[in-house]
Symmetry: C2
């Protein structure tokens, strides 16, 4: 098969994914939403979620237009950027936003239907929720490959370069910049959504559970609809945009690394083309295998937690095993040099993903010792719950980080055929590992999105006063969702780290293009002048002195590290402030609207939704601005070595911090659930109250600050990539 | 004046410091300890502290002997280390331990005497406590320069090298290894002491304040003596050993960098010698100016907090201004090339120290908005206190980190005379900045050690039922101590970061010596063979490929970053476990010993002291072992690039994490104090209870994990320095 023919497999897989998503969506809409009460609640949540997203997209549109103009000025006014960047940027943002929108729309249609299906059987409930999640998964991967295919075809037609291999570098480095749009969109989704959901959740818990003493998801609580809206906004739309960006970023960075690694005169243009297509083809194959996996998910009535996990696991595992095998097939067909070795990188990526998932489960599920110990520490009050949660969360960072380090080294070594000095091929291998880890995103994201849908179904069932049998089923589905949410977060962080690393490596390709654009055809490498177009990664490292004793590099690393803490602190405080407003509103409603607590009057849900929306919109601006502006300033002041330091420092610190926050939050949540299951005094005891404090603290940890860090580390790299032209030309120090 | 003559100023200053320390100590002992009750309580605390230190030194001695044997085998058996290392290592440990011991002994003699002096006047109390703290400050700097002087004289006599300049490199790199001994001693002091003090404090608070409802420092609480012992063990002995190590480390690293920077053939041996002496002479001058500053500290009756702060500030500020001027004098006399520029590095170091102190005060004192906001968040319960404390603590990292980055860049630029490529001179400047920051340690450490002494004096006054007038005075002294403790922590972290960086730069000198020892007289620098002895820092960076795209470097950075989190997590959990034991014991005593709460029976204080001692000893082993072993393993697996990555990753992440933990803890503590002063409901209100939770969580943050990180980042570098010979010769990848 010719390489060009193989390309068409990519848009084909994309269309297939979108087709199945549409099919699942249509089937979903045909289901009944249940009782009038169920419909009403679902409508509230849907309206709240949509009104939030509309509001968010308004702000985002303004920001995007401003940035696109800025990029256009850089590109057309000063020749500091590729002329395609403004457009690539806009489409990246559009598709990422669209993926989030469609996923969330589906999720809000699915919750009542899941609850209603649960009235029939556990399996029916699981299937509805999971297939709705699958819509999200398939939309994300489908739109991603669609965007990639379209841009590839456009650039292949319009980029004008006689040298085929140089043209491919141009194409891949240009495509990479559309990741910036996806990244920025994801930032707003994660930060805004994260603040929204936790302001509502914390606010609802503080007044509802602690002060008024009413259970979770009680319709008497005015903030309860906002809480349910938040799950959709933060965990569906936010998570989707985040992983859309990792997915796109890892594929495009790897393509750029492939174009660079096979640029040398010893390779033919066709080999280079294959190296560019390889990550896309692996992703395309992954889509098809994900669809197969999705159809395998089913369970039987009265299934235990273990069996439910097994049901989801079956789908994911089958897809993973098949993609590992299938990769060797694709690589064999492509016949890249050393294809067997490069294929191993995919397997390594998959294994690292699984290890991170398992590690997360161990540290956050109350089936294991760490979370049980946190629950036990509640016997001496909330302070010891926090201390042991922080301690355990910090220790839990070891497994994912060591797994990623081993994964980086091994995928590098394999792809470089055990020659440590072969930087280009080795880093291409790291990129391939990231693509491998994300190749089954179609189904893994389905299990992630399943979580909030099941959670909302439970909320709907509770609020609609469905029978205990149904509640038991939705509880089981919800508990399953908690576990998949925790492992999903670990996966999101791990893949973000690998993706950021691949992006970082491709940053140098953008610098190279920047230099070429302004006519710097040679660079000084330790006294020797080297042709810029042919300069290797090592040449650039030497030219810019990107070594660890360069104070610019060190300064960058320090700033990168502190950025992650400051960013987390800003988002934590944002949740605190927004939750405060929610608490005041709920208290006001309890006081002013007579009969709420007796169930005689309906609370003003919309007002709470509006407060969370406003709070999230206002609070997301500053941290987002910091994330975009700091890399630009560091680039202008410290130049390339400073930027690389910044990105590495931010990556190393942010990755660890994100894992810590996600796992501590997850463990606190499940420690509380452990008590609620009747252990150590059960619900209502002092021990339980102590764990509620832990859970409340953990909310912004795991759902706002932690996940936002994923985006931060990728976005900073993306900003640097887009601004590479400026940095290459101009810096103060 | 000849350079050799100037040397004698160093031991002279050392002896002067020790003389004044002895003088203050003798004067202290002559003071009356007060009533029988006061004497009895002081005796309890003294006995508890000494028994702890004895126990600790036993374990430490065993560890030191094992390590010394290990080093001796490496040195004499395999020629992988300098033959002096085992001895230098042992003396470093001995002197560091001695400084901690003497400082703590003085502190335990001072508390009752401070309380007794406070019966006379506020000024008398301040003077006793501060002069006792000054004993610690002067002992630390005095012993440090004594050790340095003795070793310099020994090595100058015995090191046999015809080439004077090469001999100086040998001497300085050998001396550097005694920092490892100081570092290891400091680790045990900080980790063991930190666990001790917080196990007692948290335990005492949880049962005493929360369950039994008795105030702090109430003699009815069995853990109260252990709590007071802990202040001495953690904050005096631990802090002393920590700063002893930073002080010694910064001076010796700078000396080694100086010997290397002025090694080239364009410099005379005398210039090189001057560059080696410069940091020592600045330190010596700092001692004399610190003594002058100590005599300036006094106050008047009824002084406000501001005036008290001013009293301490006067001493510190006068010393700082004089040292800034004096440095130019010393450098003028030394007549080093570009001495004016290098002198500026000292000023920069001093300014950075001040900025860090001010920033810490802003974020942790309840005179400012951030801490007040944390207090206000207590209105919605303990969860929001934790959320806003974590948020604020994270944001507070920006000031010190940016200050350090700017300080690094500026001191580098000045010393390198604005030539960014002059790495050796620039890094020498960074070292000089660290020395400058620490030059007034004699007096700054006095203000640090003052804190726990005043705290203990307050405890003693409370337990001895002294009158309200006296309590008011000891409270004022204690409140002052809280502020100095917080800024002191910031200073300790900032100086640790700069010191670690200087140590990191000198690591390469050790690698060079390691290569020369095994006869590797040339190294490959990008294809060109370069004479090892003359290889520059840049040559080594190129030779070992210590650039940011090397996966070994990246792997090292990730591991370094995660190390700091895991280490903090281990120490957090250690406190949690030890505190749990304390809680159980206090509960047992309340139950079994009738009449404790009515004051008719005396609790069993010793048992609580024994529990904290045992807990600390057991819990400190594992984190300490991790800190020592990981750098060795990384060195063996990844070689020099991996080690450098590890150290930079650990430094960047650990510095930020340490500031976060220290400031969050300090802010929680003061938010509680703000409420206790009668704001927002005052003592006993729900708001107060919520801030007590914050304070309890903050205890291990600010007094165990945070400060232990200072040592971790220095110790990892020291371990790498000592193991450089092995790493240079052998690594797997």
């Amino acid at each position: 098969m010719s390489t060009d023919t193989m390309f068409w497999f990519i848009p084909f897989a994309s269309v297939l994914a979108l087709g199945f998503a549409f099919f699942f969506y249509k089937k979903l809409l045909k289901l009944d939403e249940g009782t009038d009460m169920m419909k009403k609640i679902a409508l509230y949540v849907r309206k709240g979620a949509m009104s939030y997203l509309k509001q968010q997209y308004k702000i985002v549109t303004v920001v995007f237009i401003i940035m696109a103009i800025f990029f256009a000025i850089l590109a057309y006014g000063f020749n500091l950027q590729n002329e395609w960047v403004p457009f690539a940027f806009l489409t990246g943002g559009f598709f990422s936003g669209l993926a989030g929108f469609l996923g969330m729309k589906t999720a809000t249609y699915a919750s009542a239907r899941t609850a209603n299906a649960a009235r029939e059987s556990l399996n029916a409930g699981l299937k509805v929720a999971f297939r709705a999640g699958a819509v999200m998964g398939l939309v994300v991967v489908g739109l991603a490959l669609l965007d990639i295919s379209i841009w590839y075809l456009i650039l292949d037609t319009f980029v004008d370069d006689a040298d085929a291999k140089h043209k491919m570098i141009m194409i891949t480095t240009t495509m990479l910049t559309f990741g910036m749009g996806a990244s920025l969109q994801a930032l707003f989704a994660r930060v805004g959504g994260g603040i929204y959901t936790k302001a509502a959740d914390v606010g609802a818990d503080l007044v509802g559970k602690t002060e008024a003493g009413i259970p979770e998801d009680d319709p008497r609580n005015p903030a309860t609809i906002a809480d349910n809206v938040g799950d959709n906004v933060g965990d569906v739309a936010g998570m989707g945009a985040d992983l859309y960006e990792s997915y796109v970023g890892s594929i495009l960075a790897t393509a750029a690394l492939g174009a660079a690694a096979f640029f040398g005169s010893q390779w033919s243009p066709d080999i280079q083309l294959k190296a560019v297509f390889a990550p896309m083809l692996i992703a395309a194959l992954g889509i098809i295998l994900s669809i197969i996996g999705i159809f395998l998910v089913k369970t039987k009535e009265g299934a235990s937690m273990k069996q439910l996990l097994g049901a989801l696991g079956l789908g994911v595992n089958v897809s993973s095993i098949l993609i590992a095998i299938g990769t060797f097939g694709i690589m064999y067909l492509l016949n890249l040099p050393n294809w067997q070795y490069i294929s191993f990188a995919v397997v390594i990526g998959l294994i690292v993903g699984i290890i991170i998932g398992q590690g997360t489960e161990y540290y956050t599920s109350h089936a294991y010792k760490p979370t049980k110990k946190i629950a036990e520490s509640a016997k001496t009050g909330p302070a010891t719950v926090i201390i042991s949660g922080v301690g355990t969360g910090m220790i839990s960072t070891a497994i994912p980080v060591v797994a990623i380090v081993v994964g980086i080294i091994l995928s590098y070594l394999f792809a470089a055929k055990f020659d440590f000095t072969n930087l280009s091929l080795g880093l291409y291998g790291v990129g391939i590992a990231a693509v491998g880890m994300l190749s089954t995103l179609g189904i893994t994201l389905a299990t992630d999105a399943y979580g909030p849908i099941a959670d909302n179904a439970g909320g709907n069932a509770e609020m609609s006063h469905l029978g205990p049998e149904v509640r038991k089923r939705t509880d089981a589905l919800d508990a399953l969702g908690n576990t998949t949410a925790a492992t999903g977060k670990g996966f999101a962080i791990g893949s973000a780290a690998l993706t950021a690393l691949a992006l970082l490596a491709s940053y140098l390709e953008e610098i190279k293009m920047g230099l070429l654009r302004i006519g710097e055809t040679t660079i000084d490498v330790g006294g020797v002048m080297v042709n810029t177009a042919e300069a290797t990664i090592l040449d650039f490292m030497t030219h810019y002195e990107v070594h660890l004793m360069n104070p610019k590099v060190l300064g960058g690393i320090f700033i990168g590290s502190v950025m992650t803490f400051v960013f987390s602190g800003l988002t934590m405080n944002a949740v605190g402030r927004a939750a405060q407003k929610m608490v005041e509103e709920v208290r006001r409603q309890f006081k002013e609207i007579k009969g709420i607590l007796t169930g005689d009057a309906e609370p003003d849900y919309e007002r709470c939704v509006a407060i969370s929306t406003k709070g999230a919109q206002r609070e997301m601006i500053f941290p987002s601005a910091v994330a975009v502006i700091v890399p630009i300033i560091v680039g202008i002041v410290f130049g390339v070595p400073g930027v690389m330091g910044l990105l590495v420092g931010g990556l190393a610190s942010g990755f660890v911090l994100a894992v810590f926050m996600a796992n501590a939050g997850g463990a606190w949540d499940n420690a509380k659930k452990y008590i609620e299951e009747g252990n150590l005094g059960g619900k209502g005891s002092d021990v339980h109250k102590a764990t509620v404090v832990g859970d409340t603290v953990g909310d912004p940890f795991k759902d706002t600050s932690g996940p936002s860090l994923n985006i931060l580390i990728k976005l900073m790299t993306m900003v640097s990539i887009v601004m590479a032209g400026l940095t290459a030309v101009y810096s103060i120090l």
